[in-house]
């Protein structure tokens, strides 16, 4: 299991696009929003939690199709399927690698971008916390979507269509936690529910992911 994680991280670093691309995309989306809605600091500070969460979600979406596609094309996935490593574990590791390369950097970049959007000072802790709790769930859900579309030639667009509705609960809870934090309200409930969604995804989706991979490997 460790070997697969290290290999995927190595590939992400060496092949490029792993760490940098999602982060750059996150930055660009967040920077573009003020151009769209105007420079009004009050308005930006109100919508900042939502923008940061939506941008994080889109950035996580960007690199999903790479999770299995390359391994599928060069045969690694088939070889992994016949290895002692169960595909369920492979799914979790793949999601973890995706999270380390996309979700984790986002958690650290988000506070910096919060300044640009005049995010309320009270909200920073909740922003980082909610992203730390929520983004692993996004990676796991995305891995499931990637497994469904791995055999398709133009799976990228379809992948977004399949995964985005599944992201709704995470988005609602994550952004709500930040918003409540910004308003000085207790945000424990949305954070707990966010944790429930993430843990639930990690508990259930590896089985669905592995089943989808087996079907696609037939």
């Amino acid at each position: 299991m460790k070997a697969l994680l290290l290999r995927d991280l190595r590939l992400a670093i060496r092949a490029g696009g792993g760490f940098g691309l999602g982060l750059a995309f996150f930055l660009i989306v967040v920077v573009l929003v003020p151009f769209g809605v105007g420079p009004n600091a009050d308005l930006l500070s109100i919508i900042a939690p939502g923008i940061l969460w939506v941008a994080a979600l889109l950035a996580a979406l960007l690199s999903l199709d790479r999770i299995f596609a390359l391994d599928f094309e060069d045969g690694s996935l088939g070889l992994l399927a016949t290895s002692p490593l169960p595909l369920e574990s492979v799914s979790v590791i793949k999601a973890l690698a995706h999270w380390i390369t996309t979700g984790l950097p986002l958690c650290f970049a988000a506070p910096v971008l919060g300044f640009l959007l005049h995010l309320s000072p009270d909200a920073y802790a909740y922003l980082i916390l909610s992203l730390l709790i929520g983004t692993p769930g996004l990676s796991m859900i995305g891995t499931f979507g990637a497994a469904l579309t791995v055999g398709l030639r133009r799976g990228g667009l379809l992948l977004s269509l399949l995964v985005l509705p599944l992201y709704v609960p995470t988005l609602i809870m994550g952004a709500d936690a930040v918003r409540r934090g910004a308003d000085g309200m207790a945000a424990t409930t949305p954070l707990m529910l966010l944790g429930v969604i993430t843990l639930g995804s990690i508990a259930v989706l590896p089985f669905a992911t592995a089943a989808a991979l087996r079907v696609n490997l037939r």
Binding site: K2, A3, L4, R7, R10, L11, R14, A15, D71, E73, D74, G75, S76, G78, L79, L80, A81, T82, S83, P84, L85, L217, R218
Partner: protein, 205 residues
């Protein structure tokens, strides 16, 4: 070590091969012959457990088979050593120098796989077989894009370091490995419409 009994395997919702049966014992290898499209790949993938059989059974101890095709999972961004040690770790075995030597890639250990020639890369892919240490090898056209020298290396590995040590192999290949192995012609096992019983298309015919 591996027994295949009355196996019917399907491709695209219909049976391609039916009633295939053979046994491969320790130290033995079997070469599958037959025209293109007869279903050699399908048969090997079915034996490897990558796709379900329509009928019949594959008897082998769990986790004893290793499937290999020309898509051998070599990662261009990793070095030769990293490629092989990954598969060694996944299979819980150790990476010893012998694996490099068998396929004459010892000098390339620290080269990035992406900089290898096509033949060298294929040898790296085959070296995986020496690393995973599975007793039953299921090889689908293992010699594709290998030159004569590499084919000899591969044949030597198969004979001296796999079969001689009690391994077994089923090989689908068009070329002669020069090993004088028993052959199984798959042409007589070509499925007819009667073999489609239970195949997914059959329900609609």
């Amino acid at each position: 070590m591996l027994t295949v009994r009355d196996l019917t395997c399907t491709r695209g919702g219909a049976a391609v091969l039916a009633g295939v049966g053979f046994t491969v014992n320790a130290g033995e290898a079997l070469v599958l012959r037959g025209p293109n499209g007869i279903g050699k790949t399908t048969l090997l993938r079915t034996i490897a457990g990558l796709q379900p059989a329509l009928k019949g059974e594959v008897l082998a101890a769990p986790e004893t088979t290793a499937y290999a095709s020309h898509a051998d999972g070599v990662k261009d961004a990793l070095t030769v050593r990293e490629n092989l040690s990954f598969w060694a770790e996944v299979h819980g075995s150790t990476l010893d120098d012998a694996a490099f030597d068998h396929f004459d890639i010892a000098d390339l250990k620290d080269r990035i796989a992406g900089t290898l020639s096509a033949g060298q890369k294929r040898r790296l892919g085959l070296a995986r077989l020496a690393v995973v240490k599975r007793p039953v090898l299921l090889l689908d056209e293992p010699t594709v894009s290998l030159d004569g020298f590499s084919v000899k290396l591969f044949a030597k590995f198969l004979r001296d370091h796999h079969l001689a040590k009690g391994g077994a192999a089923v090989i689908a290949t068009h070329i002669d490995l020069g090993l004088d192995l028993p052959e199984l012609d798959l042409t007589p096992f070509k499925a007819t419409e009667a073999d489609n019983d239970g195949a997914s298309d059959e329900a609609f015919l």
